[in-house]
Every structure is written in C-alpha cells, then in structure tokens.
Amino acid sequence: MLLIVCPWCGPRDESEFSYGGEAHIARPKNPEKLSDEKWGDYVFMRANTKGVLLERWVHSHGCGRWFNVARDTVSYRILAVYRMGEKPPKLDKTTYV
C-alpha cells in the first residue's frame, strides 16, 4: 500500500487516490491533420517504465485534484510529487533490465 503525499492535503493512504497513468502527454495541436498512427500513439501507446516513471494521480476521495508523481515502479518508492503544469524534478535514473 502506497502512502501518497497530496500536494494540497498531505500524506494519505493509496486507497483515497486513483491512477492516471503516464504524465506529460500533450494533446495533439492539430487534431484534424493527425494521421491514424499518430492518433493511435496518442490514445493508446504508454510509457510502462521499469524504473522511474512520471505518472498522474488524482485525490478522488479527497480534494479531487490531479497532480504528478515520480515513482520507482520496482521498489514502489515515491521519489517526488509535483503539481500539474510543473516541470518534473531532476532525478537519477535507476535502470533495471
């Protein structure tokens, strides 16, 4: 069970949150011009990193706000929490095979 620090509410139990997957996916600027490949990538292809993953969480049973988390997906350690719109902090890359 993760202990997640909501930037607004502080440390709370994982069960108060919902997962939003990969962070920082930009909505295509020119949707009408986008090829099927690009659309498919935007909608379906996801980072699924073994190591440090930048991901979104929402405090759904709390303040209801979205935020970003940098988490090691092997140790499950949360390395950083930062708000929407903020740039990810510089972190050492752990590499696992």
């Binding site: 659309w39 498919g40 073994k50 499950y76």
Partner: protein
C-alpha cells in the same frame, strides 16, 4: 532420445527408489547462432518453441529465460482454463487453445493434470444477468459450450454457495462452461520444455536478454547475460516485461504492467469440485488437488514490476469469497504472491509482427493468458515460421491500435480469468 514416461518406466524406476530418473531436459550452453530465438521461458514461449519444432520442422531454436522455467506468471497463476469469450475473434482463439488442452497430456507425454471440472461465472445484478445471457448466446453461436444456470441449478451444481439472498452479493444466475477447468501450471511449462528439448530445442535458463542488434530494420542477434547470440528470427514472449524489451528494440506498446495477486489456504478435504468466478466482485476460487483453496484477487491499478500488490486488494476479494461461501470464513491462508500482468487497453492479446523485420511479439495476455497457452504457442509458431499470422491470430495485430479494430473483451476477461 528422451525416454517415454509410462507405467513401465514408473515401475522400472521404483525398483531403484526413483533415484535414476534422467533429467527432463538438457541445459546446454548457448550456441553462437540459431534460426529462431524465443525470449521468455514461460508457458507461451516454451509452447511456441515446441510447435515450431513439431508443426514446422524448425528445430534450430533456443528458448532464453532470465530466471527459471515458469517462474513468471505461468507458475503464479490460478490456472483457470475456459474459452467463453464474447467476440468471434477471441472465442475462436481461446477455443483453439481449449481443444489443444484436451489432448495435451497425450501429445506431450506429460501429465499436465488438465481437469475439466467446469467453470461457473456468477451474475449478481440485472446488468450482470443480461451480459451473461448475451455471452452464453454468443458462445453457442461460436460452437463454444456454454449454458445458463438458474439459482436452483447453481445450488444443485455447487451446493456450498450461499443463495439465501441475504448477503451483499445475491446470486441471480450463472453461466457454466463444462469443458472449462484447471491444469497444473508448472507441469505445463515442464511438459512443453521436455517435449521441445526432445525435438532438439535448446533451453537456456538464468540468462537475461539485455538488448537486440538490429541492422537496416532487421533483427540480427540478441545480447544476453551469456553473450551475443545471432538469430534469423526472434520472438518476444515475456509477459510483464514486454514494454521493456520492446523499448530496447525501438518500438512502443499499448501495454501496462500491473501487479496481480493470488493466495492459497491451508489444505482441506475436497469441498469444491468446480471453478467459481465472479467478475463483479473480483473473486475466483477453486480447490487444488492438494486441497488448498486457490483464490485470485484483482489487479493493483498502477504500473508495478515488484511482483507484489496492496493488501487492500486481497482483503476485498476475501470479503467477497466469505460472502459467497460463509463456511470458508474461518479458513487460514498459507501463501500470498503476485505476478506482473501485461494488460492491453482492449483486454485482448497482441500476437504480431513488429516494426523490426524478423522480430515478433506475443504479449498483452494480462490477467488471463494461462488458458491460452497451447493455442497461443501454436499460432505464434505459425506466425514466426511463415512470417505471416495464422488465420486465428490475424486480428490480434499490433496495428489494431492504429486502425481502430479493437477486440474489447473487458466483459469476458475483466479482472477474472
């Protein structure tokens, strides 16, 4: 030549106190090159190698496994086998597998303990009921055995379910696939390994694949813990690690790797002679031949490679199990573990060519690929040998996420198996 297992070999070896059984497969050092390298020694990878040798005469094959055979999801799953999927494409693929299961022990000369004890899926509300009825009808149109049970019929088939309708999860009906059941997970890996080895396939354990050599968009070799191994063709069959290897080969997958847990109880006398599943409450249960209740939980909804999940997830499952089977309330649990399941957005697998020539991928089976092991290996071997998909896996291409031809099996696959 691998000696055949039979009543006679059993008697002969009894005379020497079972001390002289030959190894079931060799453990050779890898050769510098192979025609086909299969990455991943789970059930699907080993089955692929076996059918490459058996159906296509390709025996210059190595299966390269980072750990031990079946140490991934194959040896961690709750072993439910069934084929009652909704859409034509999936029904045909899983039914192909079920037909192979029915003759597998004979084919491999290895007892995989396939037990067709029936699989029952419960409906707890009106919506479940409608979905279930739709699926039963769709299954029958596809030639997949499936029947609808009323609560009275459920009680007759599985008397220990609580049908007093007092609980949180009243049971309003069920579907039953009588040809479904369970199999011994390790035996599936070992049986395929032994049969593949007998046909000349090299099985190499404790050897992680760390990268690929690709030239002009064509696969040349895999880089491993035991050195570089050249290959004309390579099949990636690594379940939870699919995205990691795809990234090394330079393409992306729509897969998310999630922790999925299961647990077993202390062994008890025979009490449950079928498989009971409930998608709505995320619980499924059967009893192993050793007497343990085998219980599967839901996934943790975040990416996780740790082979462990949150306790809240198993708690929810156990609450549902106790609700359905009040007599299990005082059971003690012996072991709890997790696997890393590779979940696709449409809950269907990917059996496909990739953007790299000579590189093929078999993944996305998520929470429910054990049942497909023989069929998956069979059609994937065809895909590799012919460089084109078998008719049964043609719809399960990687580019369906670009074309939009998704095969949405969330209803039939859900979290349960």
């Amino acid at each position: 030549m691998t000696p055949r297992y039979s009543i006679f070999s059993l008697l002969r070896n009894a005379a020497s106190y079972h001390q002289d059984w030959p190894e079931a497969w060799r453990s050779p050092e890898p050769k510098p090159s192979y025609e086909v390298v299969i990455v991943g020694g789970g059930g699907h990878g080993l089955a692929t190698a076996y059918y490459l040798a058996k159906e296509h005469g390709i025996t210059d094959v190595a299966v390269i496994e980072r750990g031990w055979l079946g140490g991934g999801n194959t040896g961690r799953n709750t072993t439910i086998v069934r084929s009652n999927y909704l859409w034509d494409e999936s029904a045909q693929l899983y039914e192909h597998a079920l037909k192979l299961w029915e003759g597998l022990s004979q084919d491999l000369n290895y007892n995989v303990m396939f037990s067709q004890r029936g699989v029952m899926n419960l409906a707890h509300n009106q919506h479940d009921l409608r979905e279930l009825n739709r699926r039963v009808s769709a299954n029958r149109l596809n030639g997949v055995d499936s029947e609808f049970l009323t609560p009275a019929q459920i009680k007759a088939f599985c008397p220990i379910i609580d049908l007093r309708e007092q609980g949180r999860y009243p049971v309003l009906g069920a579907s039953l696939q009588r040809r479904g059941g369970t199999a011994r997970h390790d035996a599936v890996a070992w049986g395929y390994a032994r049969a593949a080895d007998a046909r000349g396939v090299d099985i190499i354990q404790e050897c992680p694949v760390e990268g690929f050599d690709i030239e002009d968009g064509k696969i040349r070799a895999v880089r491993t813990g035991k050195g570089r191994i050249e290959a004309r063709k390579v099949g990636i069959v690594v379940a939870g690690h699919s995205s990691v290897l795809a990234e090394q080969a330079g393409f992306r997958l729509p897969v998310q790797s999630l922790p999925l847990q299961a647990l077993v109880s202390e062994p008890i006398k025979p009490i449950l002679d079928t498989v009971v599943m409930s998608n709505a409450v995320h619980a499924y249960i059967s009893q192993s031949d050793k007497g343990e209740l085998v219980i599967g939980a839901g996934v943790d909804h975040y990416v996780g490679y740790g082979q462990r999940g949150g306790i809240a997830v198993t708690e929810e499952t156990l609450a549902a199990i106790c609700e359905l089977f009040p007599m299990f309330r005082r059971m003690r649990m012996l072991r709890l573990w997790g696997g890393i399941v590779d979940v696709c957005p449409d809950a269907s697998p990917i059996l496909s060519k990739t953007p790299v020539e000579g590189l093929y991928i078999n993944c996305g089976w998520g929470t429910g690929g054990f049942k497909a092991t023989p069929g998956s290996g069979h059609v994937f071997a065809h895909t590799i040998a012919r460089d084109e998909p078998h008719a049964l896996n043609a719809p399960f291409k990687l580019d369906r996420f670009h074309s939009g031809f998704l095969i949405d099996e969330h209803g039939a696959a859900a979290v349960a198996h």
